[in-house]
């Protein structure tokens, strides 16, 4: 059983971020970069599958510059077996990521591609579904529970109103949501061990023409400042006054 886990390097998801004054990008001064938290859940899930079934082989992959090695090493420390960095200096939009990953999937022939439902920087929620379409594999997005069997995955997935269970013939694409697991704390031995795991650097196979382009970033318009009320009576009166009670 081979699991491929794409991971994206994103700006610290818990930091307060601001656009650059000229709107050309995010001001990353002093900010750390992390594995996209939803991708980290995917890595964790793959490792838990491996703990249940030692025949599972986990490859993590990232598309980007040399700096992405940091996130791949972290994924190796969580428990992935090997990493591939698809080096490029151009920025890939979601269709571009899907195209590049489809090429890799054709070569590696994983049984499962598991990745975060969205990245916390661009919040697109597109790449995995586009990848599944390109490969013509079934998909289960927003996974809350994953069971991998012989030639088949059973996935409980979040829906707008509750959850549903899908049975997918493998190979398949699965995207991970919050409730699937809580990624482990990585202890020092894991970090040291990860340094000796294989990390292969290749040049990205594709250089796709982007289908979308961000032309400006700005801070959202602030909501008009509200006021504090001193008591429940005052609150109830204000709500009645505004006609919402």
């Amino acid at each position: 059983m081979k699991i491929l886990v794409p991971v994206k390097r994103v700006v610290d998801p818990y930091a307060k971020v601001r656009p650059l004054p000229d709107g050309s990008g995010i001001d990353t001064t002093g900010l750390k970069f992390e594995i996209n938290p939803f991708d980290e859940i995917a890595v964790e899930e793959a490792v838990r599958q491996k703990e249940k079934n030692p025949s599972v082989e986990i490859t993590v992959v990232s598309i980007g510059g040399a700096e992405c090695e940091e996130q791949l090493r972290k994924a190796l420390a969580i428990g992935a077996d090997r990493a591939i960095l698809l080096e490029t200096s151009t920025s890939f939009d979601s269709p571009g990521v899907a195209g590049e990953l489809a090429e890799l999937a054709k070569e590696l022939q994983p049984d499962v591609i598991m990745m975060g439902k969205q990245a916390t920087d661009d919040d697109c929620n597109q790449a995995a579904q586009m990848l599944a379409a390109k490969l013509d594999w079934p998909q289960a997005t927003f996974a809350a529970k994953v069971e991998l069997g012989s030639g088949q995955a059973t996935v409980t997935r979040e829906t707008d109103s509750g959850e549903e269970t899908l049975q997918l013939p493998l190979p398949a694409v699965i995207t991970t949501d919050l409730r699937l697991n809580e990624p482990r704390y990585i202890a020092l031995p894991g970090i040291i061990k990860a340094r000796s795991k294989p990390l292969e650097k290749r040049t990205a196979k594709t250089s796709p023409a982007p289908k979308t382009r961000v032309i400006n970033l700005e801070a959202p318009a602030p909501r008009a400042a509200g006021k504090k009320v001193g008591s429940v009576d005052e609150l109830v009166a204000a709500l009645k006054d505004r006609g919402v009670l």
Binding site: P138, T141, T159, T212, V214, L239
Partner: protein, 297 residues
């Protein structure tokens, strides 16, 4: 030729999408998957399906691709269903995609929130067709006029994935993304039973829906489908009451179009007080029962 196809999984989404369609300014048709959409929303043709209970994404995307092929723009309300299905459709069509559109600048330039809603990006679409998911709160309601021609449409085909079960936990409460009143709670609600009793009970008393923060969902206090925020549901009720909610950027991104936001939090420095219309510094376990008794509910 530029033309828009709106896809409404449920009838009420058609009305939400029509405002976006008018803003975009292109002629449009509507695919109403449950066949319940109104015919006076300005669509030229309404394709009427028979069920919103569509097959898994791989089969669905293939089934609607032939119809979609005639359009330059394909749009649906932004939710988990549309993100699952339309991103797959975009992949099959080799289309561009813009998720969570909040403003239209031109038929190829859109605004959308990124990085948990802390930044608004202006995105230019460089290829055609384009698939869009839309947050409808920022678009005006349309004047109802005329009658669309109708055509029946059935989503046919088979999916590789097989749905073997589904549960809906909504119960009798209104849909979160539709509700006029939303009461939501955060981590201080301790456990699922307390959350249901305090937040659920208050919501029921007001005839509203229940929401939750990501922290509450993360810690198992509230089910996932109640999560409000950039990575969860986007709401725009007349009244949003946040109890024990600190007001993270990603949560605020999901509620900013609410008419009146009320914050009840015992921490006077909670960031939510910066954006709430009405803030009450109080213990929610004391304040909520008091509010309920004062309004007789």
């Amino acid at each position: 030729m530029s033309k828009l196809l709106l896809i409404a999984f449920q009838g009420h989404e058609a009305e939400q999408l029509a405002g976006f369609a008018q803003k975009l300014g292109l002629a449009y048709d509507l695919l109403s998957l449950d066949g319940q959409a109104s015919l006076d929303l300005g669509a030229e043709t309404v394709y009427q399906g028979t069920s919103a209970d569509v097959m898994p994404a791989d089969g669905f995307a293939k089934a609607i691709k032939p119809l979609s092929a005639d359009y330059s723009h394909i749009a649906a309300v932004s939710n988990m269903a549309s993100k699952d299905l339309l991103a797959r459709l975009a992949g099959h069509m080799d289309a561009a995609m813009v998720t969570d559109v909040i403003e239209v600048e031109s038929p190829t330039v859109f605004k959308r929130p990124v990085v948990a809603g802390s930044i608004i990006a202006t995105v230019e679409v460089l290829s055609s067709p384009v698939v869009l998911t839309v947050r409808p709160a920022g678009f005006p309601k349309v004047d109802r006029q005329g009658t669309s021609s109708t055509s029946s449409f059935s989503v046919e085909g088979t999916a590789l994935a097989v749905r073997t079960g589904s549960t809906s936990r909504g119960g009798s409460r209104p849909d979160l993304s539709q509700a006029k009143v939303v009461v939501s709670g955060g981590r201080p609600l301790k456990d699922a039973a307390t959350f249901e009793q305090v937040i659920g009970g208050f919501a029921d008393a007001l005839g509203g829906a229940v929401g939750a923060t990501r922290a509450a969902v993360d810690s198992g206090i509230a089910p996932n489908e109640l999560q409000v925020g950039q990575t969860g549901k986007i709401v725009a009720p007349d009244l949003y009451i946040a109890a024990g909610v600190s007001g993270s950027t990603q949560h605020m991104a999901g509620i900013k179009d609410s008419k009146v936001i009320v914050a009840i939090n015992k921490d006077p420095d909670a960031p939510i007080f910066e954006s709430a219309d009405l803030g009450l510094v109080a213990d929610l376990y004391v304040a909520i029962p008091e509010i309920r008794s004062k309004i007789g509910k």
